[in-house]
């Protein structure tokens, strides 16, 4: 039994040494979450990414479907539409800061659909702190800034090369296509709607089909 102590000591030292090698991480903030038990259980099992995925699904349901709370769709005076979207996105990003889809989706919705560019910019700036070389975030910031000034053409042009990326959320492509329509730039709008025909979201596919028919009629 004389080997017990040295073995335990080496085990403690081993744990201490390896724990000091990884960067520290704050506990994710899920104080505003509607599913704290779900998240905590997954965190206990070391499944942070899955917790972020589940919260993302909740975010998509919240923003993209009729399951949103009546209060969020018809808020009292002074309260914006979908007030929870920013906090929900922050919560997901505190679980998985590298989840760029959520950052882009929420920022796009806030800036281009809900008229809350400040919150969108905050999400983008946080993203740039984590990934300073991410040019997609930089393009988004530029697009949001142009959109704040009311310069829609510059806003979509700032997104330029990323608009056609398969990783860009369909919602952003849809917004950009709509802006092109307003600017009467039919070919660009048609190109984006054409891409949206391959979207995994049936809602955007349906919308793209309808809009492509309209564009065709106008051009004729």
């Amino acid at each position: 039994m004389r080997y017990f102590f040295p073995l335990f000591l080496s085990l403690f030292l081993l744990n201490g040494f390896f724990s000091s090698l990884e960067p520290t991480q704050a506990l994710p903030d899920f104080s505003s979450s509607k599913h704290p038990v779900e998240i905590l259980t997954l965190l206990n099992l070391g499944l942070r990414r899955l917790a972020a995925d589940i919260e993302m699904v909740h975010l998509l349901i919240y923003y993209g479907s009729s399951e949103a709370m009546a209060d969020d769709l018809n808020p009292p005076k002074g309260v914006p539409l979908y007030p929870g979207i920013f906090l929900r996105a922050k919560e997901i990003l505190s679980l998985d800061p590298s989840f760029s889809y959520v950052r882009l989706y929420a920022a796009g919705a806030l800036a281009f659909n809900l008229g809350r560019p400040d919150e969108a910019l905050e999400l983008m700036r946080e993203g740039l702190i984590l990934e300073p070389d991410n040019s997609k975030y930089k393009a988004y910031i530029a697009a949001i800034a142009f959109s704040q000034k009311g310069d829609e053409r510059q806003a979509v042009e700032a997104l330029g090369p990323y608009l056609h990326s398969p990783k860009t959320p369909s919602m952003i492509k849809n917004v950009a296509a709509f802006i092109y329509l307003r600017l009467k730039e039919w070919p660009q709008a048609a190109e984006l709607y054409q891409e949206l025909l391959n979207s995994k979201d049936a809602g955007y596919r349906k919308e793209a089909k309808k809009m492509l028919r309209k564009i065709k009629k106008r051009r004729i």
Partner: protein, 248 residues
């Protein structure tokens, strides 16, 4: 070496025919199927969700099976008195211990490979293109399982109670996922909380070094693999010390 191998294969076959193993395999298959449904809800992020939920389920089932099999491995043989028969043969206790543990490792590998096979089929059906990071993720899960089974074997020999061994190992699993946050606390807090947090860092394993889902980073993989190997060896040596002195 031959004796260890025979014991390992025997343990492996015993686990394969164990009803719980079959249940675990069915459970894993069903849950992966459920992850497919969950993936549909994620719309544009279907592949990511399918990947994450599949790997998470593989990890959970492997670790739960690992803890359960390790905790019951020796206690069941002691209860049924099978251990007397085996140890009365020309076989050292070290060979017996190693044989049983390697058998357990083979069983876990089998569980992991079977579930990954189902998972990969699902991913390929969804037009996923192969990435080596998948293998690294599985390797990380396997090393976590190695660390936990070594600890669970030690606890089962030390506590002589299956439930206690499962509870101790389960606690290691849970707290081992929080070391980064505990370190954060040591930096933010002061006084007793900071001291206690520091002590916890030395007590619990650090599973984050084995999280290789982001892909291959040579230094991280090397560091994590050496940590798991050392951790496994130390716990196995501790188990051997207890097992050697044990009277049946």
């Amino acid at each position: 070496m031959k004796k260890i191998w025979i014991l390992a294969v025997d343990s492996f076959l015993e686990n394969i025919w164990n009803r719980i193993f079959v249940l675990v395999a069915i459970f894993g298959g069903l849950l992966i199927y459920a992850s497919l449904l969950f993936g549909v809800l994620a719309v544009e992020q279907e592949l990511r969700v399918l990947m994450d939920s599949g790997l998470a389920l593989i990890e959970m089932v492997t670790l739960i099976a690992g803890i359960y099999f390790s905790a019951t491995l020796f206690l069941k043989e002691i209860e049924t008195k099978t251990i007397y028969l085996v140890l009365s043969r020309p076989l050292s206790r070290l060979e017996y211990l190693l044989g049983r543990v390697f058998g357990l490792i083979l069983s876990l590998l089998f569980i992991m490979v079977s579930m990954s096979f189902i998972h990969l089929i699902l991913l390929f059906v969804h037009h996923w293109s192969w990435q080596n990071s998948y293998l690294w993720a599985l390797a990380g899960i396997f090393l976590k399982a190695l660390m936990l089974i070594a600890a669970a074997v030690f606890f089962s020999l030390f506590s002589t109670s299956t439930i206690a061994a499962i509870v101790f190992s389960g606690s290691l699993w849970i707290l081992g996922n929080f070391t980064q946050e505990i370190r954060f606390l040591t930096q933010k807090e002061s006084g007793l909380t900071a001291i206690l947090s520091r002590i916890l860092l030395f007590l619990f394993p650090h599973f984050e070094v084995l999280n290789w889902r982001g892909g291959f980073h040579e230094a991280k993989v090397l560091m994590g693999a050496s940590y798991a190997a050392l951790y496994f060896s130390i716990f196995l040596a501790l188990s051997w010390l207890i097992f050697r002195a044990k009277e049946f």
